[in-house]
Symmetry: C2
Subunit: 205 residues, 2 copies
């Protein structure tokens, strides 16, 4: 029996299968590391055959690429929503609270840290991670450009890129803090992040 891959029902079925594989793979990468998470292990966790997994993803790097792309899509949507807000600064400060709490979730953190650890020794994963990072940084930098232009502050590229890098360091650092100090005071960290971000992005120079 063959199915037409272009019908809406078949496309929705494929999307749901892909999501099911990504969830199983995310759990396996978190629990066993990239190398310990074999396609056989991922297929067991997803409740489907290894052949089925290969139908959707060529290899583990392709699964990582899809996980990274999913995270990038979320970030680009968030960034676009902040740019569309009537007060971009207040939108950024408000959404920062969610960003802190999301990054402090230990499972999210463990998976993201594992992907970066793999990128540091696997050129294929490094390429995926760096391409996504360039999109992410460029979008956040554009959001800061609009925020600062509205306030009459300087918007040269080097300033915006530097601020974007420091914002990224702050938020990504939380991924490591979630694992190193799971008992940290979340509310206090949110409050200090909001104060620091306000000062950082409204610096006139």
């Amino acid at each position: 029996m063959t199915t037409d891959p272009c019908t809406p029902a078949e496309r929705s079925r494929a999307a749901s299968r892909r999501a099911q594989i990504l969830q199983a793979a995310s759990d396996c990468f978190h629990d066993h590391g990239f190398h310990g998470a074999s396609i056989s292990l991922i297929s067991k966790a997803a409740g489907m055959s290894a052949g089925h997994i290969y139908h959707y993803f060529e290899n583990k790097e392709a699964i990582i690429a899809a996980i990274v792309e999913r995270d990038l899509d979320r970030l680009l949507t968030l960034s676009a929503e902040m740019r569309a807000a009537s007060d971009v600064l207040e939108a950024l400060i408000g959404r920062a609270a969610e960003g802190v709490i999301d990054n402090l979730d230990p499972r999210t953190a463990g998976l993201k840290v594992e992907i970066v650890a793999e990128a540091s020794r696997n050129p294929a994963v490094a390429k995926i991670v760096r391409a996504a990072d360039r999109c992410c940084m460029s979008s956040l930098s554009e959001t800061l450009r609009i925020l600062r232009a509205n306030k009459g502050h300087s918007t040269d590229d080097a300033t915006l890129q530097g601020m974007t890098e420091v914002l990224a360091s702050m938020f990504e650092g939380l991924l490591l803090r979630a694992i190193r100090n799971p008992d940290l005071d979340r509310d206090r960290v949110v409050a200090i992040f909001q104060r620091v971000i306000r000062q950082l992005v409204t610096d006139p120079n």
Copy 2:
């Protein structure tokens, strides 16, 4: 032939052997991940037998513990030097530049990120990492207490711990940035870090 392990020559020889193993293990953990780096691989990289490695370290977790302890010792020394400075704030700002550059070194970053990734799924490694983190945070918090007391700012524990957490997030985030964006503008990141840290730690509240 037996040797007396307490003679100065034998102690110095043991210390040098341990350092040699830690360097080889650091390279193997970075290049192959914690699971890929077998004791056999580490022994080849160190140029000694596996039996020799086991003479100094019971298992890979014990090697990780020694690497983490070495990093902790450096941090505690740095923190004590800052506390002893005539102007603790200026010492912190000055040393922040070195801290940024150190954390942006891709090999340092890769190894540290790998250890945290392993901690997120291996309770023995998590215990090592968290115990070291508590010492590190407590020392940095004490440094901030002295800095702020000198300026007449509030020094309650919750404030100090929150500021210490945010400082830690900023610096640890650089480990991930070093891998995600190896071409970032180091000088600009140093300058912005110094400005942000000054504002963060001198907030009167």
